[in-house]
């Protein structure tokens, strides 16, 4: 492999500190490296630079050269090269670094400029904070504490604009709050490639609107709510539900596809209120699909399994586990794992399969990918099953081998970890021939037909790891406690493993990882606590030949596409 060329570094001086940054960096990002905040509204690191909010004003100067001789002009007072300061402030977002650039991010002129910008922005901004959903995470509120004057000199009437406009099925617009930063317009055009938003009218009449006859209804529309620096765009689902300062943020992963979008669960007292993306420049930048955000509703769904059942009657976990152990001891077992389960659970399923000689299966879920953050493979963790050895071949959508083996009478017991076997190609008649042990979260036809039902936890209720399409192992944490009656999958699986006569494995992720590292070659050098929040890339050469059903996504190219591009260049 050819090593990536080292980025050209440029030395700049920010507030008296020399700093080397890659060429092309703008002043906001360069200052961020020094932990200096340059306030901004319209600038977003993943969007084009518009430079229209004028909040990121900085003072800048360049080294002086003699126009005739091109020799550096030395300042006799300091003995250093003289700096020609520009007499007016410049915008930080639109200023890319140049060699020797000098920047002041907190001079009196800069502060004056920002205070002026804040006063103008607040002139027509409504005093909606008590009813505004953005309160608590509003950039305008934040900067008003630093640069606001605390009272208004504006005695004229404030602008009146439409409030409560439905831009689309998931986004509500309050035009009075809009500061015309155009982040949402640029996002729709550049990232979602659905150019429906724009400004109409001029001056103080300027209003954000949808193109006539169109709606903001693409599957990425809620990202405009995330990037809106004020409360103009709000999520219709989250609107007026809870103030953000009450919500606990837990790092998690999107469970809708193999992209493994990094996300945050916002919960309070065991109730999840919303899901938002978390920045990971290697996976999802700062975006997330709308379809993944509503999946938190599965947690409080009415069809959650909460009762341990044995042959159709409620029972205790221990009795059910003993019955399951007896079934497993009889042999002729087949195990259907899940691509939605964590690496740890798949590992324990593999530990369960090995001593009883059962074969592991998985069910594939595929649909068309959108080339952004939803891939064709709708299982978040197929690769975890490959890595842990639960399966060696890619799964198909139907359990044909299992179906054949049941027909031949080779299988007497099927362990299903959250998979609906009837949806995966088995018939009710086939299920009636075998005993089913179902470990899952929601009721379905298989849980209804199962001899033993062991209620388990949803992804947001437990910790674990997923391996995404790049073979990047990423962590998620428990955000809320599970419902009463449900047991952590790891506890159930560890007890089942122990019942086969093997030594009892740990039933908690941190304690389990040393044995995972000792058993699974690809994870040998890792521990749960050592996996960074942005994930770790695994060596995927062992599985490079497998025909993964993957298209291109934001930061992933399937091997075939990458090879074709390599051949062209």
């Amino acid at each position: 492999m050819i090593a990536a060329p080292k980025p050209d570094l440029v030395t700049v001086n920010i507030d008296g500190v020399d700093l080397s940054v890659p060429k092309g960096t703008n002043v906001i990002e360069a200052a961020k490296l020094l932990h200096k905040d340059v306030p901004h509204y319209c600038y977003h690191p993943k969007l084009s630079v518009a430079g229209n909010c004028r909040m990121c004003m900085i003072e800048m100067g360049t080294p002086a050269f003699d126009p005739a001789t091109k020799a550096p002009v030395i300042d006799p007072a300091t003995g250093k090269q003289k700096i020609n300061w520009i007499p007016r402030p410049q915008i930080g977002c639109g200023t890319t670094v140049s060699p020797g650039l000098h920047v002041k991010t907190s001079s009196p002129m800069v502060k004056d400029a920002r205070e002026g910008v804040m006063e103008f922005l607040l002139i027509n901004h409504p005093l909606d904070c008590p009813i505004c959903d953005q309160a608590g995470e509003c950039k305008l509120q934040e900067q008003a504490t630093g640069y606001g004057r605390g009272y208004s000199r504006f005695i004229e009437e404030k602008n009146v604009k439409p409030k409560r406009t439905q831009l689309g099925p998931r986004v509500t617009l309050d035009d009075e709050r809009c500061i015309l930063c155009s982040r949402c317009v640029r996002f729709s055009k550049e990232i979602a490639r659905d150019d429906v938003l724009g400004f109409v009218d001029r001056g103080s009449y300027s209003t954000l609107t949808c193109h006539p006859g169109k709606k903001l209804e693409n599957n990425y529309s809620l990202n405009t709510v995330d990037i809106c620096p004020v409360g103009a765009l709000t999520s219709t689902d989250f609107r007026f539900k809870m103030r953000v300062w009450f919500l606990k943020q837990t790092h998690t992963l999107d469970i809708e596809s193999s992209v493994g979008v990094n996300a945050v669960v916002w919960s309070r007292e065991g109730t999840i209120y919303r899901l938002t993306p978390r920045r990971n420049d290697e996976v999802n930048d700062t975006w997330m699909a709308d379809s993944g955000r509503i999946l938190y509703k599965q947690v409080a769904a009415t069809d959650r399994l909460t009762a341990v059942r044995l042959n159709g009657a409620d029972t205790s976990l221990d009795i059910a586990l003993n019955a399951a152990a007896a079934l497993l001891k009889d042999g002729s077992v087949s195990i259907v794992g899940s691509g939605r389960a964590s690496v740890e659970e798949q590992f324990l399923l593999k530990q369960l399969a090995t001593p009883i000689g059962a074969q592991g299966h998985l069910v594939a879920r595929t649909a068309t990918g959108d080339k952004l953050l939803i891939s064709a493979d709708r299982n978040p963790n197929i690769r975890g099953a490959l890595v842990t050895g639960l399966i060696s071949q890619l799964p198909s959508a139907e359990l044909k081998q299992l179906s054949r083996e049941i027909d031949e009478g080779k299988i007497k017991t099927v362990v299903s970890h959250g998979e609906d076997l009837l949806a995966a190609g088995l018939t009710a008649a086939q299920l009636a021939k075998v005993a089913v042990i179902y470990i899952g979260t929601h009721a379905n036809a298989t849980s209804a037909a199962a001899q033993i039902v062991l209620p388990a936890l949803h992804t947001y209720e437990k910790a674990g790891t997923f391996v995404n399409q790049q073979f990047r192992i990423q962590k998620f944490y428990a955000a809320v406690p599970g419902p009463q009656g449900a047991t952590n999958d790891l506890v159930v699986l560890a007890k089942l493993v122990a019942s086969t006569g093997a030594s009892a494995p740990a039933s908690e992720v941190h304690a389990l990882w040393p044995s995972i590292a000792a058993t699974v070659p690809a994870l040998s050098s890792m521990l749960y606590k050592n996996i960074p929040d942005t994930g770790l890339l695994l060596d995927a050469t062992a599985w490079a030949g497998l025909p993964f059903v993957e298209g291109e996504s934001l930061h992933f190219k399937p091997a075939a596409v990458a090879a074709a591009e390599g051949a062209r260049s």
Partner: protein, 182 residues
């Protein structure tokens, strides 16, 4: 530690008769018998409450009958003993107060937790919650000691409004829709 022995002053003859002390005590007794009484016959009689008294927290309406609370939940946030619990809700579009957009669906103050500190009143940006004159909260069960929204408005009543912030907003919007200032 050294002990200092203090010599007690011997009593005089008059003191030894106890008569001056008995007379002094009886004088006080007879004075009180003829003076007007200080005792209030609580609960029939109630004391006058000084201004600024911090009694039971209540929710108030404005003089137009609009509930002033918009469920911003700042009081819930600031409440030191976590006595306040609010469920925010949206105001329906056909409601006369639809322009306010938000109101509490449920508002509960647990008076067993409340410490009458008044921070909720201080923090309220809408001047909707006030600690008023009510000081006596009793109940037989824990549930009775939780004031729900209806009870809070019943206790609070109506207080004058200096600002009519939301009414002004509605007027401006109506003027704009008639083609006035945009």
């Amino acid at each position: 530690m050294a002990t200092i022995t203090v010599e007690r002053k011997p009593l005089s003859l008059l003191e030894r008769t106890y008569i001056p002390n008995i007379v002094a005590g009886l004088t006080t007794t007879f004075k009180r018998m003829v003076k007007p009484t200080e005792t209030l016959q609580y609960p029939e009689q109630r004391p006058a409450i000084p201004t600024g008294y911090r009694g039971v927290p209540t929710l108030v309406n404005d003089p137009h009958g609009r509930e002033k609370c918009v469920s911003c939940q700042l009081c819930e946030f600031v409440c030191p003993p976590k006595a306040i619990r609010i469920t925010p809700g949206e105001i329906a579009n056909d409601d006369p107060n639809a322009h306010v957009e938000k109101r509490p669906k449920a508002f509960e103050i647990d008076m067993l937790r409340c410490i009458y500190c008044g921070l909720c009143q201080e923090v309220c940006p809408e001047e909707a919650i006030f600690l008023q004159n009510q000081y006596s909260m009793t109940g037989y069960t824990r549930a009775e000691m939780v004031n729900n929204k209806d009870r809070l408005y019943e206790l609070g009543g109506t207080l004058p409004d200096q600002h009519y912030k939301w009414d002004k907003k509605k007027t401006a919007a109506e003027a704009a829709s008639r083609g006035g200032h945009h």
